[in-house]
């Protein structure tokens, strides 16, 4: 049996062998998991890291003196270091805040940094292709303090339309955009956006949820100011998210949730918040999950993020071409057709067949695709859609997954004639 640690050069079949959930049989056929954009399937070393935590050393972190409390604390703080290394945080672990998911990271950004620094007349610039996680917290902030929320339009080529960006930048204090659309697969020009933001004296926040598991992430090269993502989309567990920001910005951010662990002092008349990332980590953190995330980072590093990105590109190029060949216009791809600046997410609109029905038929073949608005309703509206059927790849995906997808799509198209 292959184990994660042993995968040194990238081979998706080895990753597959290490991913227990892919051994599942659905409706008499091996599962064809094409929903990694919603959540990835953790490999054996990630699952084992968490079991091992509970089996050998579980204890609450911080303040403990006994051995397993130290081990748990070291494991938890070690995950912070692993993530800092993974995204190349310039000042290391001191810049990594653990949250429960990318969504909480955005709420933390909006309700701590945003509420302190933004007010009436200030603009936060999003894009029409954002996930609700990067939209709703800003509307909440608007309703609380009166900021304006503005959107970069998306062109017919399914890419950001920056033709009017100078106009759009008026009054903007923060640009907050996705690194990659979870619906279109579009990769956004982050370096360009960072340059524009900084030229206008604004900061830039990045929704890296779809990026971190699929391509190298380097916050210094990108020159961005905030970077948010979830563990469960990078082969890690549920229940854990990350916010990275520069140490100097973090130091000035007021507390978010209040409770144990985030304080320096509490009396019956008030409290003094702690310094550093723990200021934002109230209560018992996701300890076992952090052990899982460390293992996921090690696993991904072993595969090589460049290799994973290339693998995604290869699979996507192949799938786009074959869907076209097979179905002509009947299966419309909602997303860019070239594979440069594009990830392994394929949204489909099947003529005459609603996305739910597509997904239902595909399920009969053990094919897992996600129907719906993918938490991106403004984007769906932009293209006059209510739902797409979305297939997305992971490092364990193979061309044979696309074979089954196409076989099953054929059945759906036939059934609805």
């Amino acid at each position: 049996m292959a184990t994660g640690q042993s995968v040194t050069s990238f081979d998706p079949r080895l990753v597959r062998a290490d991913t227990p959930a892919l051994a599942r049989i659905i409706n008499g056929r091996p599962i064809t998991y094409l929903d990694s954009a919603a959540s990835s399937l953790p490999p054996r070393p990630v699952i084992d890291a968490m079991s091992r935590h509970y089996e050998r050393q579980h204890a609450n972190v911080h303040r403990g003196v006994y051995q397993t409390a130290n081990e748990s604390t070291q494991s938890y703080e070690g995950a912070r270091e692993a993530i800092a290394r993974f995204i190349h945080a310039p000042d290391g672990a001191e810049e990594i805040v653990f949250t429960k998911n990318a969504t909480e990271s955005f709420n933390l950004l909006a309700k701590s940094w945003g509420a302190k620094n933004l007010g009436v007349g200030d603009v936060v610039l999003l894009s029409v292709m954002e996930h609700h996680a990067n939209i709703v917290p800003w509307f909440q902030l608007r309703d609380a303090v009166g900021i304006e929320v503005r959107f970069i339009p998306v062109g017919d080529d399914y890419r950001l339309d920056l033709s009017n960006i100078e106009e759009l930048m008026k009054g903007v204090r923060l640009v907050s955009v996705t690194a990659m659309s979870n619906v279109l697969g579009t990769v956004t020009p982050l370096q360009e956006l960072a340059r524009i933001a900084h030229e206008h004296g604004a900061l830039i926040a990045v929704d890296a949820a779809q990026l971190v598991g699929h391509a190298p992430s380097n916050v210094v090269d990108l020159d961005v100011d905030f970077f948010m993502f979830s563990a469960h989309k990078m082969l890690g567990p549920t229940g854990l998210g990350v916010l990275w920001t520069r140490r100097d910005i973090l130091a000035e951010m007021p507390p978010f949730l209040g409770g144990g662990g985030m304080i320096a002092d509490v009396s019956t008349s008030g409290y003094v918040p702690a310094k550093g990332p723990t200021r934002f980590e109230a209560g018992t953190p996701p300890i076992a999950e952090a052990a899982g995330l460390s293992a996921a980072v090690t696993f991904l590093e072993g595969l090589g993020m460049q290799n994973i990105a290339q693998h995604d590109r290869d699979l996507t190029r192949d799938a786009l071409a074959r869907i076209d060949d097979e179905f002509g216009g009947r299966v419309r791809i909602i997303g860019p057709r070239d594979t440069e600046q594009r990830g392994g997410v394929i949204s489909m609109d099947v003529e005459g067949v609603h996305a739910h029905d597509v997904a239902q038929v595909l399920d009969q073949f053990g094919v897992c695709v996600r129907p719906g608005h993918h938490c991106a309703k403004p984007l769906m509206k932009r293209f006059n859609l209510t739902a797409t059927a979305r297939a997305s790849f992971g490092p364990y995906s193979l061309v044979s997954d696309t074979d089954v997808l196409i076989e099953a799509l054929n059945d759906a198209v036939k059934l609805f004639g």
């Binding site: 996305a355 739910h356 239902q360 719906g372 209510t386």
Partner: protein, 156 residues
């Protein structure tokens, strides 16, 4: 693939492709009511014309999956022209059908099956219960109709 054929019966696909009573009615005199399934985004709008205790006309618009839209079409055909009392009874029967456990459909002498027989074409939707996530699709139009009738009851 027998399961799938249970779900997508020919009658359902037919109503999905060629929905009956599709369109709008002028409001007033008709009453308009909207239903929405936030999880999947399916929408159904019903226009109800009630005269002297009878649902004299009904039109439906909306969009969504084959189940929600065929159910909307099948419903409109089943209730059009019926006294409100009968419409209410049909709603109850249909919703009961949708909560019935699979096993009791397959046995032959159960009470729910009696109800199914009384449903005519609507019975085609009974395969939906084998796909629990789709039950919400099938009941959307019915809940919307029910709400519309409640609203009409509440207005003098």
């Amino acid at each position: 693939m027998s399961n799938l054929e249970d779900l997508y019966r020919e009658v359902i696909l037919d109503h999905y492709r060629s929905p009956r009573n599709r369109g709008e009615l002028e409001t007033p005199p008709a009453h308009r009511v909207e239903g929405f399934n936030p999880l999947c985004g399916d929408e159904v709008t019903a226009y109800l014309l009630v005269d002297d205790g009878v649902l004299t006309d009904i039109k439906m618009t909306g969009h969504g999956c084959s189940i929600s839209q065929s159910s909307s079409s099948l419903m409109s055909a089943a209730v059009k022209g019926k006294p409100i009392e009968q419409v209410r009874a049909l709603i109850t029967t249909f919703k009961k059908l949708m909560t019935v456990h699979e096993s009791s459909i397959e046995s032959t002498d159960s009470a729910p099956l009696q109800d199914v027989r009384s449903l005519g074409e609507l019975a085609a939707l009974q395969g939906v219960v084998k796909f629990p996530v789709r039950i919400k699709c099938a009941t959307l139009a019915w809940n919307t109709l029910n709400q519309g009738l409640d609203e009409l009851d509440a207005t003098p």
